[in-house]
């Protein structure tokens, strides 16, 4: 390996040998310039062949080089972007020195190339194979070569294939030269006539016309084809030129087309008037294809000015035709659309720098919505603008100015007078475009939205009404999310919330924050049920921040949106304090009436029972009187009658007493000292107390005052104390204890004894009934507890009893 890394470029040049020139160098350069390829535009065909060469040889670089006087220029290249190098640093400069291919297996070891920049530097080439390219005279103009970084030589097969590529390149080169000649022939044909053979001329002409996309043909004076090109054959649907030569269009096309085309030919041939650019529709002989041709037919004159034939050119314009058709269809559709916009029209408005307006286009449909014809609007745009409702004009103008200034869409809803004088709503939307003259082109749409607007206004009005109702109702409404976050609420809701909570009602706040933690579980449960579609209703008592008691009816219901999804929960709060108080009052008076009724019924039973037992006895005595046998017996019966009448009198007296309690609901009530009345009673009963040796423990404090009727209080205390003494236990020393305490703001007098006691399971419900006695005493009338109970209840109090047989009884009197 050479180490050139230390050498400067200058040193490299010194070492590099200059490439020798061939002996026929001047002829060669002349041939090269004739070919006119140097510095020509890239050619896809040549490039393709070079790429193919690289592919076949598995080489990173392949080139078609042309060796000019001082440089080599790449007509085609693969694997490099460089387009030329110095002739002295070329490989191909050597190739053109010989007739056969040049192969260099290790470039670095070859003295000719060891110093080549492509060998000592990137891409560090090691292999070269080049085939000389010659013109028709055998003068070498360049080479087709492949280059590789490895020094592995090409296989014989690769070399063979590379030679096939070279042949293709030769053919391409020949074609290029032919084209070059053809071009020159038309200009220089008379001058060079002697230098070229007729045969060659024909060949060149064929090559030229065969490679043109237009159909070209020459006809003799009979209209028979003498020359056709490939494009014309393709039009005719014929592959072989022989089949067309000598035939007229009558024969070639046949039918109508044949006749008309032949007639054209004859016209040109006889009159000498050419046909230029006439569009013709051609249907192929099998009818499968349809072409559009742009035909020109020009007569050919000989030196004597006699028409000898014609030359024709046909250009396939089918594609243009199709595109034209599509475009015209589109235009028609657009036009149709523009004039048929329901309730709308499109326009193009030109605004001059001086503010003058001109409609370049307005859909005819404008007349449907404004009553003004599109033509009138086009004539006088300013007149049209003046129809805008004056009150809406400032908005319209400011929006238009804004759109112009910012180059954004103008969008405005405004009122404008219809031709019939009616004021209507319109919506205009347009895009401004500034052009070079300072003019603005507005492309826009104009829509009648009167109907829509009226509905919108009505809707807005009804929404406003609804809002007014919502705001002014006495029911508080809070609309919440399914998670109970407040979304909206009305004034009543704010007011109600402020009654009970210091936390004000506000959007985003959550209902949970208004309830103590211990209620959250219940709230979650209720929310779940409501979200499932249930309606939750409850009456809630609140104590306001001012300590006032208020009742609210709370109703929670779910609110679904249009698609039936749950949108949230609506809480309605209604102040029902007045209603609730009335209700409670009513309930109280109902209970009172009910109780009174029950008492009356009971009373009637009692009256009936007690009076009947006496009257039935009287009845019995009367009956027995009839059967009495002796005066003695009659006297006995009379004494019984006396007893019965006394008993009846006593019963009547008791009933009177009961009736008087029942009747005097508004009896005189005073504040009485409880202790004073107890002392009084003990004094009344002192004989019984002494006889039975009763211990009375009076623990009632001095200051207790109760609201009671004086006579009732005396009666009540006597009754309880005398009962306690009467039903004392025979084996025990009687003890009575009186205590007084407060329970729920009520005074309670408790009287306990250690007497006989009662089985309350058996007698509890009858205890306070009239004429109930539970002990076998003859003087037990049972009236006492009945009257006592009535008296206590008449004073708004109540009575409770607990008792155990042989242990004792405790009565509790609750004062109002």
């Amino acid at each position: 390996m050479y180490n050139y890394l230390t050498l400067s470029p200058l040193q490299v040049i010194i070492i590099m040998l200059s490439v020798p020139t061939p002996s026929n160098e001047s002829e060669r350069l002349n041939a090269l310039s004739k070919i006119a390829l140097i510095d020509s535009a890239p050619d896809a065909y040549f490039d393709g062949l070079v790429a193919l060469a690289a592919q076949i040889c598995n080489a990173p670089i392949a080139l078609f080089t042309l060796i000019d006087k001082n440089r080599q220029w790449f007509k085609a290249k693969y694997g490099t972007t460089i387009s030329e190098t110095d002739r002295n640093s070329s490989f191909c400069g050597y190739t053109i020195l010989q007739q056969t291919p040049l192969e260099v297996i290790n470039l670095a070891n070859d003295e000719r190339f060891a110093a080549n920049p492509w060998v000592i530097g990137p891409p560090y080439l090691r292999y070269y194979y080049g085939i000389p390219i010659t013109d028709s005279q055998g003068l070498a103009i360049g080479s087709l070569c492949v280059l590789n970084t490895s020094d592995t030589p090409l296989s014989s097969q690769q070399k063979q294939q590379l030679h096939h590529v070279k042949k293709q390149l030769d053919a391409l080169l020949e074609l290029h030269i032919a084209k070059l000649h053809a071009l020159k022939t038309t200009e220089v044909l008379p001058i060079n006539h002697h230098t070229t053979t007729l045969e060659e001329e024909r060949r060149l002409l064929y090559t030229l016309i065969n490679n043109l996309p237009d159909a070209i043909y020459i006809k003799d004076k009979e209209g028979r084809k003498t020359i056709v090109n490939n494009a014309d054959l393709a039009f005719l649907g014929i592959t072989n030129a022989e089949a067309a030569i000598g035939k007229t269009d009558l024969e070639l096309f046949g039918g109508e087309k044949g006749v008309s085309s032949y007639a054209d030919d004859m016209h040109v041939l006889t009159t000498g008037n050419p046909i230029y650019n006439r569009e013709e529709k051609i249907i192929s002989s099998d009818g499968s294809n349809c072409y559009w041709l742009l035909t020109s037919k020009v007569p050919i004159y000989n030196n004597n000015g006699v028409i000898t034939g014609l030359v024709g050119i046909g250009r396939n314009i089918t594609e243009h035709k199709i595109i034209d058709k599509i475009l015209s269809d589109r235009e028609e559709q657009l036009h149709l659309l523009a004039n048929n916009i329901p309730n709308g029209a499109i326009y193009r408005l030109l605004e001059y720098p001086n503010g003058h307006l001109e409609y370049l286009f307005v859909s005819n449909s404008i007349e449907n919505i404004t009553g003004i014809a599109a033509s009138d609007i086009r004539k006088d745009a300013m007149q049209f603008k003046s129809k805008i409702y004056p009150a809406d004009l400032p908005l319209f103008v400011s929006k238009a100015n804004e759109a112009k200034a910012n180059n954004h869409i103008f969008d405005c809803e405004f009122r404008q007078y219809h031709q019939n004088g009616e004021l209507r709503w319109y919506h205009s939307r347009a895009i401004p475009k500034h052009n070079a003259n300072g003019e603005i082109v507005w492309d826009g749409i104009f829509i009648d939205i009167t109907q829509h607007k009226l509905v919108e206004i009505a809707l807005q009005q009804s929404e406003n009404n609804l809002n007014t109702v919502f705001e002014n109702t006495e029911v508080g409404y809070i609309f919440m999310s399914p998670q109970l976050a407040f979304i909206s609420f009305n004034t009543a809701a704010i007011h109600f919330t402020a009654l009970e909570h210091t936390l004000p009602l506000q959007v985003g706040e959550n209902l949970y924050h208004y309830y103590p933690k211990e209620h959250h579980e219940k709230l979650t449960l209720v929310t779940k049920q409501v979200l499932q579609g249930q309606v939750f209703e409850t009456d809630k008592k609140i104590i306001t921040l001012q300590g006032e008691e208020k009742w609210f009816h709370i109703k929670l219901s779910h609110v679904a949106n249009r698609t039936q999804e749950v949108a949230g929960i609506l809480m309605a709060m209604e102040d029902i304090t007045t209603r609730k108080k009335d209700e409670l009052e009513l309930k109280k008076s109902f209970n009172l009436v009910n109780e009174q009724n029950k008492r009356l019924l009971n009373f009637s039973y009692i009256v009936s029972h007690n009076l009947r037992s006496h009257t039935s006895n009287i009845q019995s005595i009367a009956k027995l009187m009839d059967f009495a046998d002796s005066d003695e017996e009659r006297n006995e019966l009379l004494s019984h009658l006396k007893t019965v009448s006394n008993a009846l009198d006593e019963t009547m007296h008791h009933l009177n007493e009961v009736v008087s309690i029942q009747n005097h609901v508004n009896i005189n009530v005073q504040s009485l000292s409880l202790l004073e009345y107890i002392h009084k009673t003990i004094d009344i009963l002192k004989d019984d107390i002494q006889t039975k040796n009763v211990i009375v423990r009076n623990l009632v404090p001095q200051n207790v005052a109760v609201l009671f009727n004086p006579a009732y209080l005396e009666s009540v205390i006597i009754n309880f104390l005398s009962n306690a003494i009467k039903y004392s236990h025979p084996q025990k020393q009687p003890e009575i204890e009186l205590t007084c305490y407060r329970s729920l703001e009520q005074w309670v007098l408790q009287i306990s004894d250690n007497g006989l006691g009662m089985d309350l399971k058996k007698h509890g419900e009858k205890l306070f009934g009239l004429y109930k006695t539970f002990h076998g005493f003859s003087n037990s009338r049972g009236i006492g507890l009945f009257i006592t109970k009535n008296q206590i209840e008449a004073m708004g109090g109540k009575i409770e009893v607990s008792s155990q047989v042989n242990v004792g009884t405790t009565f509790k009197i609750y004062f109002k």
Binding site: Y605, S608, H609, N610, R612, S613, T615, S616, N617, Q619, S620, I621, K623, L624, F627, H640, T643, V644, A647, K762, Y771, K772, T773, F774, H775, G776, S780, G782
Partner: protein, 135 residues
């Protein structure tokens, strides 16, 4: 006039009991008349007779409202004694109560033949005797 062995009055109204007894004696519809002042006394009396194998009354006239043990309580106590009783006892309620509840309650006892309203008159007594001496 047919007769039964014994009629029993259970009532706390002493006058009523006395008068009814007189009426029964006058009508001569039984050999003996016994009376108890309340349910408990009657129950104890029945129990004693069963123990001593003495005959029980054929007809019982039972008051409802009585101290210590009322008519209903007596009925419940009587039903407890019944398995030990061989003979037939016809119980009639005789009460001055006019409540429908008491009548309905009486109807619920199969051992109660009829609910009578006080006063029990001679015609009623004669009808009872006729019913009870048919067989």
């Amino acid at each position: 006039m047919k007769k039964v062995n014994c009629i029993c009055i259970i009532d706390d109204d002493a006058i009523y009991t006395l008068l009814l007894k007189k009426m029964i004696v006058k009508l001569d519809i039984c050999d003996t008349v016994v009376s108890y002042a309340n349910g408990e006394e009657a129950y104890l009396g029945f129990e004693k007779n069963i123990q001593q194998n003495n005959p029980l009354p054929n007809i019982v006239l039972l008051d409802i409202n009585m101290p210590i043990m009322d008519g209903w309580e007596f009925m419940d106590a009587f039903l407890a004694l019944k398995p030990q009783i061989q003979q037939k006892i016809a119980i009639y309620i005789a009460s001055s109560s006019i409540t429908i509840e008491d009548r309905e309650k009486a109807a619920s006892y199969t051992d109660i033949v009829e609910y009578l309203n006080k006063p029990v008159v001679t015609a009623t007594l004669q009808k009872i005797i006729q019913e009870q001496t048919l067989d």
